[in-house]
């Protein structure tokens, strides 16, 4: 069925937005195979973002873990994370749809920065919705967005984090969709967003796959990525889904533990539901209210997940593990000391998952890990976590 991944997906939006969502779907169908559109996307990916991103053989990490580990360096992209891949694609589409204004939600601020960046690049107006709590824990990114000319709204409703930012952005869009495109930052929302965002992020897995075949002469045994909404993970996994021998490992935010109320582990603790335009897995109470989730990582602090991940999970094609704050912080420090790479705290969840996965792989195995973003934004928070206060 159109816009579905098995039982998941769909277009559960208020009637006010339905025509616009269908217009986005039609536009995406029109342009996704349009040679000129794809050429423009490829040109910007190469010359603006710096793609293909490096696939780095992490030799000290490999020696320590006993398997060969490659890191897919999305942290080296312009703006410092994978989010730019999707933003360029959607901004190109929005421009073709005649839109002059972009709105976006952001958690850690990486997507907000990427959205503000493409808005500046294309001369479009940009407003970003960010939970008030996130504006506090990611103040640096708030200022980056403002430098780029975007207006940042601190969302003060609900739990004041990513979910509430999505609510506010959807409300903005329902009031003003004539000139506005809602640049959703993850592979979530009503169709066509989950598929479209996946497609724009699939360069990650495609490049990874080609490069591994060239250098190793074979496919990896496992690929690992972190999962909040799930865009870098689905972009990593998608080109490998048909390769049955490749294990797909998604690492979600275990917070203070999935047996406490403080986590964002949708796969481990969520139930099927309908929210933010899609049927997927959500952390919710017994009566279907969406629950507040928690993670040290603002970018993984989301109560739902991409419907395509929900289906990969159901089908048993991908495995999902919950990584706690403590494990993620340890992995953040471990990668810094072992390879000289300060990754985003989101990506550190993938690093922690890779450490665990390595133990289940036979010697000589090859594993690829997506480092979805760089960690400059997290340094102060990690210092606080370790009991140190930093001053600029």
């Amino acid at each position: 069925m159109k816009g579905r991944f098995g039982l998941f997906g769909g277009q559960y939006v208020p009637e006010t937005l339905m025509s616009e969502v269908l217009r986005v779907e039609e536009a995406y169908e029109t342009y996704k195979n349009d040679p000129q559109f794809l050429a423009e996307l490829a040109d910007l990916n190469r010359n603006y973002t710096g793609r293909p991103s490096l696939l780095y053989e992490a030799k000290r990490l490999s020696a320590d873990l006993g398997v060969k580990v490659y890191l897919k360096r999305e942290d080296l992209n312009h703006t410092g994370a994978h989010k730019i891949n999707n933003c360029i694609g959607q901004a190109l589409l929005a421009r073709r749809m005649g839109k002059t204004r972009l709105i976006a939600e952001t958690g850690a601020g990486q997507h907000g920065v990427a959205a503000a960046t493409v808005a500046a690049l294309f001369g479009m107006e940009c407003e970003v919705y960010m939970g008030e709590i996130d504006t506090e824990r990611q103040a640096l990114n708030v200022y980056r967005m403002r430098l780029l000319g975007a207006k940042v709204h601190a969302v003060k409703t609900g739990s004041r984090v990513l979910k509430d930012a999505v609510n506010a952005a959807m409300q903005d869009w329902s009031a003003r969709c004539g000139d506005t495109h809602y640049l959703i930052g993850s592979a979530v929302g009503p169709a066509p967003f989950p598929e479209m965002v996946r497609d724009f992020q699939s360069c990650i897995g495609r490049e990874m796959r080609e490069e591994l075949l060239r250098r190793e002469g074979r496919l990896p045994d496992a690929v690992v990525a972190c999962v909040g909404g799930g865009s870098n993970a689905i972009g990593t996994f998608y080109p490998f889904v048909q390769d049955e021998g490749v294990r797909l490992v998604g690492c979600e935010a275990g917070g203070k533990g999935v047996d406490t109320p403080y986590h964002a582990a949708t796969m481990a603790r969520g139930r099927t539901g309908v929210f933010h335009g899609m049927k997927s897995l959500f952390c919710q109470d017994e009566d279907g209210n969406i629950t507040e989730v928690y993670s040290i990582s603002a970018g993984l602090d989301y109560p739902g997940v991409s419907p395509e991940h929900a289906e990969l999970h159901r089908a048993g094609r991908a495995e999902y593990i919950a990584v706690t704050d403590e494990e993620a912080v340890a992995a953040f420090e471990y990668l810094a000391r072992t390879e000289g790479i300060i990754c985003a705290i989101e990506s550190a969840h993938a690093v922690a998952g890779a450490v665990r996965t390595a133990k289940t792989l036979p010697p000589g195995s090859v594993m690829a890990v997506t480092i979805s973003g760089r960690g400059d934004k997290d340094v102060a928070a990690i210092a606080r976590y370790r009991g140190e206060a930093l001053r600029d």
Partner: protein, 262 residues
């Protein structure tokens, strides 16, 4: 379903919305009776939800208040049951889809029918996604109320063909809440609906003054007022009786002399 149709047969219908359990089930049940006596023809009961994406700040805050003392879908059903003991005014629920999905659509519509709730409005369940609930709504004879928005245009008639009970015409873009003006196009929406169905049309979103009620009622078969009611309950808490009575009477008086169903 007939109760809803009948409510439109004595002039323009006034539909009043309140949030279940705000400020308590007891008060809310009494407010229904107060509004009925002041002239409301149909009561719309909002089921509190954690993330009411189609609602503005007034109703969002009412949901926060109700959720704080654990008013969820089962408690909203209890409220409807209690109202039914005291009144025969037609009732409809407004609920986001996830609480219904979680409760089970079949079980929910069966309960609605058993209680005597005539219709259900699910703002985040557009026509294309209604397949999974429609068989249950039909089987238990509960109307699935359709919404038509200013952006619906070429979708209007397909939606109207699926309508029963009444059609909810959304006066303006954006979320619910009191407004000074409307986006326009209500007359065109109502005309397009009438070409394909005789199900009555009620206009909602933003209506909170007698003049607005009159202006919008003249274009359709009835008007819906929500945030205006909820705002009074928010301000007066458990002693909103007089304020609600005066408010509803004011709106009803403004539409009373308009000619009945067009």
């Amino acid at each position: 379903m007939n109760e809803l149709k009948q409510a439109f047969e004595n002039g323009k219908a006034l539909i009043a919305f309140l949030t279940a359990g705000d400020p308590s089930i007891e008060d809310s049940v009494r407010y229904v009776k107060v509004m009925e006596e002041a002239g409301a023809d149909i009561i719309e009961i909002g089921v509190p939800f954690s993330d009411p994406v189609a609602d503005g700040p007034v109703i969002m805050e009412a949901d926060v208040r109700a959720l704080a003392h654990h008013i969820h879908l089962p408690q909203a059903l209890d409220e409807a049951r209690a109202i039914r003991k005291a009144s025969s005014i037609p009732l409809v629920f407004l609920t986001y889809y996830n609480p219904v999905f979680s409760y089970g659509a079949e079980r929910f519509f069966r309960e609605c029918a058993a209680i005597g709730v005539s219709g259900v409005i699910i703002p985040d369940l557009p026509l294309e996604e209604q397949g999974e609930v429609r068989p249950h709504a039909d089987r238990f004879g509960v109307s699935l109320i359709q919404l038509i928005a200013p952006t619906s245009r070429e979708r209007v008639q397909a939606i109207a063909r699926a309508a029963s009970g009444f059609v909810y015409l959304v006066s303006s873009m954006g979320v619910t809440g009191m407004r000074d003006g409307f986006s326009g196009g209500v007359e065109e929406m109502a005309a397009a609906v009438r070409e394909v169905t005789d199900v009555p049309c009620a206009v909602g979103f933003g209506i909170h003054t007698p003049a607005q009620a009159r202006q919008m009622a003249a274009l359709a078969d009835g008007v819906i007022t929500g945030s205006g009611v909820v705002d009074l309950i928010g301000k007066h808490g458990a002693s909103a009786d007089e304020a609600l009575s005066a408010y509803i009477r004011g709106l009803k008086d403004a539409v009373r002399d308009l000619p009945p169903r067009l």
